[in-house]
């Protein structure tokens, strides 16, 4: 099971007004666990007051850079990103899980491939890791990056991309699209939409030669780009997507509320929410699981192994008290947040409210 390891902050570089790049170093003993593949991300945890927050940020160094760096852009109201941008200093330690994620294609030094990347804002972080690695490890491959930002000064890694263009002459092209800042060429100004993408394929990018495309940005933009790529004959299996790991609202981490823990009866009033619909039933406290009771009440509750191993039946207890017989799949923090494996879960209190939708 995943576990957290402290990483030492060895450098803090301000990348733009609201983005920092942190260089992190694991203990020598953990170095192997933190070896990464281009395009992967790290999940961090930190206590903010009484609340533990977990956030994932993409690694922005290349596999051969010899260091582990993540780029963190401050989001309005984001506790973790604000902390990383304003308070983290060299010598601090941050808890992180080993690298995860599958936003990459296998590297083959003998191959000569044509790659295309689309990044918006901080969506550049995994893409620049991929670019650096491909340029270093596939000497005959080329990469074209279409990179959307609001304006010039908000572009992350602008200088680093220029340097890469100079080091790997002729193998990296970067097309900057700026939303609210005019450029010499109209095509490069404004929002990326279907029309602009058509024009890019007409004038700048040969769709037929593209072997693989990487897209990282907000959802709607990724759909627009993917639809356009398909229109230009690029197949689904050639397109790799990565949502900003942190673009989705973080889960509130609150312990299960035990408003009613009185244990008096031999039966329990259970209320289960699934796909937005809530059903209530009474079950005996006879050692049967809440999952079995829900299924017996004709609910299509998710489950697979029924042995506390696979985590398919994960649900959250919103009220009441339950006991889990076996748990091989949930981490401590999930349990603290009220998550249970419903196949292993028997009611203790006389009322239990449980949801599969949270």
């Amino acid at each position: 099971m995943s576990r957290f390891t402290p990483l030492e902050v060895t450098d803090v570089r301000r990348e733009t007004r609201d983005a920092v790049v942190l260089t992190l170093k694991p203990d020598p003993a953990d170095a192997e666990a933190f070896a990464f593949t281009q395009g992967q991300y790290l999940t961090f945890r930190r206590m903010f007051g009484a609340e533990e927050l977990r956030r994932s940020y993409s690694i922005c160094s290349g596999v051969d850079d010899g260091c582990l760096k993540v780029g963190i852009k401050r989001v309005e109201g984001g506790a973790f990103s604000t902390w990383a941008n304003e308070e983290v200093k060299v010598g601090d330690h941050i808890d992180a899980m080993p690298p995860m994620g599958r936003f990459f294609t296998p590297i083959d030094p003998a191959t000569a491939k044509t790659y295309l990347g689309f990044a918006a804002g901080s969506g550049i972080t995994p893409v620049i890791s991929i670019i650096k690695t491909i340029l270093a490890r596939e000497p005959q491959s080329t990469f074209t990056l279409v990179y959307a930002n609001r304006q010039m000064h908000s572009i992350m890694f602008r200088e680093e991309l220029e340097d890469l263009k100079n080091i790997y002459l002729g193998r990296l092209s970067v097309i900057h699209i700026l939303k609210s800042e005019g450029q010499e060429i109209d095509l490069f100004t404004g929002r990326i939409d279907d029309h602009k993408l058509d024009a890019l394929f007409d004038l700048w990018i040969d769709a037929e030669s593209v072997d693989a495309a990487f897209i990282c940005g907000p959802e709607a933009l990724m759909l627009t780009i993917a639809d356009n790529l398909r229109k230009h004959g690029i197949a689904d299996e050639q397109i790799k997507f990565e949502l900003f790991a942190s673009s989705q609202p973080g889960r509130a981490v609150k312990p299960a509320v035990s408003r009613e823990t009185s244990v008096t009866g031999n039966s329990c009033a259970v209320s289960v929410t699934l796909d937005g619909a809530t059903r209530s039933f009474t079950m005996p406290k006879d050692g049967n699981s809440i999952l079995d009771a829900a299924v017996a009440n004709d609910m299509d509750a998710p489950y697979s192994c029924k042995a506390g191993v696979c985590s398919t039946c994960r649900a959250r207890v919103l009220e009441g008290e339950v006991e889990m017989a076996v748990n091989h799949a949930l981490e401590d923090y999930e349990v603290r947040a009220g998550y249970v494996l419903s196949c292993q879960c028997v009611p203790v209190s006389d009322k239990v409210v449980l949801s599969y939708d949270e």
Partner: protein, 254 residues
């Protein structure tokens, strides 16, 4: 960020054909359905592998023995590839293999409800036992054709890591089907062999057909909105029926 005008719910993103690549981004219901799909695949492969182990010793010759061993090996390997993806969601891979007895089968004449039976998520067809080399070859051909269709569906799934793994598995499973077909060509060279094969076909045909699930299942709509399903059970069943009948006709079994 450019989130202001571009903000979109993950449900709308998926309904619009969006793809996901990281366990951290998947909503709870999506996670549950995805894990259910993956464990059904893993359990079917493990049960398929375990059930085929007997066929190694039924093999009439050394090349068939090697072919059967390969099927047992490669189906377990395919299961592991998907189990590795489940591990990203918290599944305890080491314990998973021990959660069920993958070799267990129901009696040959048992009526197995196509809905899941007991603890594991294998397709119902993998609850039926193989009884001979001919039987194993028939099952392999018919189920191999079905698996090809079912995996092409799964290869379009909106969780990219799974789609990628399934694309790697498709040619492996196609080879298993082909080993069954080649075995049957040899068996059907004699009248006696062909009549034994025909009896096995009568047994397996309806059971493999059941593996496509209920026609008109309400779950399809829900999974389709998440990009987890694309073609209806009915369409896939029709495609399989035609393909299977063509193969059996070529072998002069039906």
């Amino acid at each position: 960020m450019m989130n202001d005008a571009d903000t979109m719910s993950i449900e709308d993103y998926l309904a619009g054909g969006g793809k996901l690549s990281s366990p951290d981004n998947v909503p709870p219901r999506y996670r549950a359905e995805l894990l259910r799909l993956m464990s059904s695949f893993v359990d079917s492969e493990l049960a398929g592998s375990a059930g085929f182990a007997d066929a190694i010793n039924w093999a009439p010759g050394i090349s068939q023995r090697i072919a059967a061993s390969r099927i047992v090996l490669e189906k377990a390997a395919s299961a592991e590839k998907v189990l590795d993806l489940m591990e990203d969601f918290g599944t305890d891979k080491a314990l998973y293999n021990r959660a069920h007895d993958w070799a267990t089968r129901q009696p040959r004449d048992a009526k197995v409800d196509p809905r899941r039976q007991g603890g594991d998520m294998r397709l119902s067809v993998f609850h039926a036992p193989l009884i001979s080399w001919t039987d194993a070859c028939v099952m392999n051909l018919l189920m191999g054709l079905a698996t090809g269709i079912q995996l092409r569906e799964l290869a379009q799934v909106s969780y990219i890591p799974l789609a990628d793994v399934i694309r790697d598995i498709i040619p492996v499973e196609a080879r298993h089907k082909e080993l069954g077909r080649v075995g049957l060509v040899e068996i059907c060279a004699t009248e006696e062999g062909r009549s034994e094969a025909a009896a096995s076909v009568d047994y397996w045909f309806p059971r493999v057909a059941d593996s496509f699930g209920a026609v008109g299942s309400g779950r399809f709509e829900r999974l389709a909105r998440m990009g987890l399903r694309h073609r209806s059970n009915k369409d896939q069943l029709e495609e399989w029926t035609q393909a299977a009948q063509a193969q059996l006709a070529a072998l002069k079994i039906r």
